[in-house]
Amino acid sequence: MDWAKESLQKLESSRPARLNQSAPLPDSTAAEALLKKYHPDYLGHERQLAVGPNAGEQKVPLELAQLLEGDSPIEPDYSPDPEIKTDVLIIGGGGAGATAALTLEGTGLTVHLATKLRLGDSNTVMAEGGIQSAIGPDDSPRRHFADALVGGHGENDVNLLRILCEQGPESIRWLSQLGCLFDQNEDGQFRLRGGGGTSVPRVLACRDYTGLEIMRVLKDAVRLTDTQLLEEHAAMELVDDGNGRVTGAILFDRNAGRPVCVSARAVIMATGGSGQIRLQGFPTSNHIGATGDGLVLAYRQGCRLIDLDTYQYHPSGTCYPEALVGQLVTEAIRSIGAQVVNAEGVHFIDEMAYRDVLAGSIIKEIAEGRGVKTPHGKTGVWLDTPMIDMKNGPGTLARQFPGLIHRFERYHIDPTQTPILIYPTLHYQNGGILVDSECRSNIPGLWACGEVTGGLHGKNRLMGNSLLDITVFGRRAAQSVLANIPERGAVTLTNLQRFRAERTKIKNKTVSPKFFPTASGMKLTPAKAQEKSQKDTNSSNFEPRNPFNF
């Protein structure tokens, strides 16, 4: 990293003085001012929707608005004829969907779980830092609630938030009984760390692979149940009974290359977030399936959406090397002592500020010329990782953050010796489908849980509350389905037809959902086109095909 030599020297020379000094934490007035000027949520890249249940209300980001108003990929002459009949269709194979499937096991209901990728390919598996639960001394679900409410700017749905916090300890018990191994202290108690905006240590972790630990256990457990897995089946549309109730979905079987209609008595939407729509061109820490499909499908059915005017830009996304741009550097690194430092070697803000405030302040440093420019033209600030071993003893970083070390190793960067360059990365969809405390959307037959929902986290989520979210509300959605499941209904496209009629008044030509990131060029390819592309491949013509009208 010779290109950054000068700045690294400044950072190293200021380190002895900084080592045990804290930096200022902006008060609430200063934080608001900072956010308004620099945070991407506040810059006006948003508009109202012209059609659907939220038309004319709260603004949403421009890129998302295009998708929510978009047309369906379903051909106008397609007539839904169910090939699969099930009691519960879960859409989404991440932590929330898997948790719901496990909770429905042994209840007598048949369960199908559809995912456009493989079970477990999700944002859950990529979560690093941990899961919050009020189990420590001086802590309580009330304190957890207060921290999260302040972090969410007081905009959280307090009923949902209270459930989240009260169910924290029970959720850790449930995950432990499934066989999740959370890190323990020498006395055998779970090790608790702080996170941005936690007033006491409350975050449990498995090194910096907490999501991986939870997801691989959930995945293993689900595969031992009677849940029917529909992997590589992308949800294209929901179907309804003609009277407004959701009664199933049309999936696209990526291997067979054709749509499959599913009739279900209840549908649980657990499709996760939308970082891959790359708002304002930001990099993302999300997996490749995070394209907001569930929002689009639910919106066409008439589901109200909430709080989608805010997204979470995680302050520490990787900025260098280029191949790792956008990938997460866990907040836990900051909670055990790595400071955020600008190009001049100045520790400009307390690194445990709320995520939105810290992200805004990093963007400000760069805007005012105190960032470090990479050879690829990106600009970031330093995360002073070598401080961790100085503060906590040699070997701490390698022992507690093997993932970080492993990722940077192949680029010949050793974070125990060299700081990491960071820039905010699009990380989490704060808002989503409006749900009640039983995870029901405002459309009968459709439940939702996890990142696809909104309200719980208000305008900003705290570290460790999303892994808890999927556990608490994945279980809750399943329990509510069990208690309230309707009889099987007819399968029609009435809601879609109504939406299509409404959108004739707008000019938006987008076809949505996206299914995959634009940059990937991945498509849902019908069987005939698959054969053709196979032939072309054999004759060494690798031109990509776009046989569908999206």
């Binding site: 390919d121 990529m126 690829h376 060494s540």
Partner: protein, 219 residues
Amino acid sequence: MTGKTVEIKILGKTIQAKAGETLVHALWAAGMPESVKTGCAGGVCGACTVTLRYSDGRPGGTELACMKPVEAGMEIFPCPVEDDNPVLPVADPELSHLQSAFPTLNRCTKCGSCTTACPMSIPVMDSVLRMQKGEFETVAEDFTTCIHCGLCRFVCEDKVKPHNMGLWVRRSLGMSRNVAITNNEDNAEQEWRYLLAEDRGERLQRARQFRKSGRVGET
């Protein structure tokens, strides 16, 4: 370091890639996104397993396409690994349980292929030998970073299933642990009444106060 392109080969087809980018991004740019299965593009889902070889004679091997930067002359072959049926874990696991759950455990011929294949640098073969001795705590530690890409099982001539056993051991130990988790219910009703003020602004003020001490009326 910027702007340079290199040639790599995938499935016999030569493509141009930008120096410094990963194989997955190179395949996206070349219009071949589905030639290698991809899930997270962040090194933790294990979908994008490939084998590769170098033109200069260096030993190739197995890799995750989302983590491997392109190099000139590199030749890539997709290597998807099918899932294997899981085996129910048991609380208080003993060696005999592992042996009956995974009958191929003792077939290991110590060739070391599994360790070579592991993209997470887990000492897989050593850990299989530890499994044979029932050293489960160490095994659980060994497999902390396992992403279940399945390459260790895929390359094993003797049908040993290291990563499946690793997860079985971890889950079994996890289920056996009994860490006390207490719910703090002291003054719960009073505190909820205080925190759930009707007025939004008042509620936020009270939350700000409450989080300082975790109690009503203290700072």
